[in-house]
Symmetry: C2
Subunit: 433 residues, 2 copies
């Protein structure tokens, strides 16, 4: 049986998981790959740092040259997070003739074109199944299994931290800050979860998926995004009352007017698969013109789910499948984008609006007429009977709209907030069909 020699750069959580599978499950891997995968070297920054696995000192090194100078090693899992030195190391590995597997979505979303062009120039391949939705095989599904289709819609819960936090807020009425603390205690959130909860992480993943599915070349920073950091438990309660759950969704929708892309907390009908995704799970709902809707759910992060995806990529590289896919798809090549992005203000949708209004007559009428001026028509309203406590004070007014445009709704809300009976800070969320 032939042997493919493998290197790992970075033995953090994911890297240790990958090493664990390669070292402990070599028989299984050989059976699935038709060849041995031998971990030759693992390069780390600090040799003395304790790691959760037994790894021979002959394998460990703190010099990248152990891998780049070793002609036997043909495939490397590059598992360092962040942009630098991850980018430079990736370029060095490619230049040294290695095919590279990565789980680093930030790196791809930021430097994809440069890295992929360099790989093509050097005749090398890059694989990145683990970069989006961890254990869910969404990259392979889009680029291989659904290749007969024009994909028309992608809706994803792509950030497990946010989903955990929102699930906690909904199920136990917890406030955002308390749910974040719990997520940190349980290891679902980083010490600084800013990129998770503000929608950036989901936008990076959406940028990668929409490049694969639609050939779009939009930068992740140009994707309109709203996070869950300003989510109020009150809206989770109203959503439930209306028959919905709130999920942080990353959405790409192909229309005759271009591709709509956005990340935002959205209302999803209870009973729909996306609505029932709890805890730190990820999910993606894909629609293809031939296949219809296909729904995937799995763990989007964590040591072993992510390592599972990385090792599958290593096996695909060792067998030669990745090389074929990589050459065929010409990802992030210099070709022009295949699709235009639709102006965000023009995207249509139904909306959930919550205003804090002074509890006196005529307010609903005033709001309704401003909405009407912007072609926003009302589908339903929740305005509870005032309680003794609320008299003269602020009460919530919840409005579900019919289909309107993002821009129309935004402008209407801005104008409504100019009125003296309405407090600043109204809530506006998409409602899924």
């Amino acid at each position: 049986m032939e042997t493919t020699h493998v290197g790992i750069v970075g033995l953090g959580t994911v890297g240790s998981g990958v090493a664990k599978i390669l070292l402990e499950q070599s028989t299984r891997i050989a059976r699935h790959a038709g060849r041995q995968l031998k971990l030759q070297h693992a390069v780390v920054r600090d040799l003395k740092k304790p790691r959760g696995i037994e790894i021979a000192s002959s394998i460990l090194s703190d010099e990248l040259s152990k891998i780049t100078d070793n002609a036997q090693i043909s495939v490397v899992a590059q598992l360092i997070g962040g942009l630098e030195p991850a980018r430079s190391i990736m370029l060095q590995l490619l230049a040294a003739g290695k095919d590279v597997v990565t789980a680093n979505k930030a790196l791809l979303a930021e430097h994809g074109p440069e890295l992929f062009d360099k790989a093509r120039e050097l005749g090398r391949s890059i694989a990145f199944e683990a970069s989006v939705a961890g254990g869910i095989p969404i990259i392979t599904s889009i680029s291989q299994c659904l290749s007969a289709n024009q994909i028309t819609s992608l809706r994803g819960i792509l950030n497990g931290t946010s989903n955990f936090i929102v699930s906690q807020m909904e199920e136990s009425g917890m406030k955002f800050d308390d749910a974040v603390s719990l997520a940190q205690q349980l290891g679902y959130a980083e010490a600084d979860p800013a990129m998770d909860v503000d929608g950036s992480d989901a936008a990076q993943k959406l940028a990668i998926l929409s490049h694969l599915a639609f050939g779009s070349r939009v930068g992740w920073k140009d994707i309109p995004r709203i996070g869950i950091d300003s989510l109020d438990p009150a809206d989770l309660r109203f959503a439930t009352e209306l028959g919905y759950r709130i999920k942080l969704l990353a959405i790409a929708q192909l229309t005759d007017h271009g591709l709509e892309l956005h990340v935002s907390p959205s209302l999803v009908k209870i009973g729909r698969p996306l609505a029932e995704v709890r805890e730190a799970y990820n999910a993606v709902s894909v629609v293809g013109d031939a296949v219809g809707r296909v729904f995937f759910q799995g763990l989007g992060a964590g040591q072993m789910p992510t390592a599972s995806a990385v090792v599958a990529d290593l096996i695909d590289m060792a067998t030669g499948r990745t090389k074929i896919t990589f050459r065929t798809l010409e990802l992030w090549s210099q070709r022009e984008a295949r699709v235009d992005i639709r102006e965000h203000d023009e995207t249509p949708g139904r909306y959930y609006l919550r205003f804090s209004v002074k509890d006196h007559p005529g307010v609903l009428g005033d709001i309704a007429s401003v909405l009407a001026q912007h072609q926003v028509s009302i589908a339903s309203v929740i305005q509870h009977e005032p309680t003794r406590d609320s008299e003269g004070s602020l009460v919530p007014l919840v409005i579900m709209t019919h289909t309107a445009t993002e821009g129309g709704v935004r402008q209407a809300v801005e104008q409504i907030e100019l009125g003296e009976s309405v407090k600043q800070g109204s809530v506006r969320m998409r409602v899924l069909d």
Copy 2:
């Protein structure tokens, strides 16, 4: 750009769908395959039969030799159902040097070893993503994306017809026969749906999946199976009352005592992804030791979802990916089975039992003591207050058990039915954890 010449044998529902995609979406397919896929010939039995697509007469033929004698054609979609002449045609295609894509799960479940050995002997490949769960990429996921894992559990809703029928019975209280008629009217069921509703179709698919996931070589006829053909609306109501839905599940569970395989209507907790799969959808829930649980849902049948899977296989063959996967995995080779099958009577599980009992004192006590003799302990009971109508007549007694063995529960029920207060035809269904 290079061209791969493709043949189709059989232009029924799926074949027409495949031809439609190849003819109408050639630009898209070329982009995803990195080469043209040209439909050279489609062979049918009856040239005069009307078909839902425009197809040039130069492509159509009623002679298989148009394909077998054409050296240009390297890849053929063989889309004839049933065992013969499907098997003979497949062997002729392989002998003529063609790689073959098929959607025929009955053929693979029955003649897999023969066909795969022949393909290997001749240096050819077989692809079969469409044979199980149509548009869900479960074959690729198991054999490629989850290859870092030991799969430990597969639970599938693999027969869309049955799922549609059970969903109708549950949602509208319809009887089995009426739900079958509706399914036939809507095109979800064949004129003779016997193989669908008696669990045979699901068992064939489970045999294929468990060969892929566990290396088992069990014949589908040896998989214990119960269909939905004796399902009573009363049990759907009791299940709902208990917080469950009933689904026809195909289950493979790896244990220290061997692989458990069975197909049967089972109770799944409401809110669990499998419980929420409605209409004619299929779903598969897979657990891998690294990835955890991954859940897939999509359309398991129908023209375009199945064609989507067939065309993906054609693309994989044209690019060369299939050849690698086929050689690597050595499916249905002469190698011994990698796993033993656990004796069905020994498999553990919780059970839902419904007895029709004479409405007089002492019956529950008698039943409980027989269950206890067989080490079956009771978790909960539903016995409604007798109504005026029920006095002296038969009333339902529903029992949920703690974990017991299949054999213990079966024997207990047999013994209970010997009692004069209990009617024959008790109901016994698995309850999922």
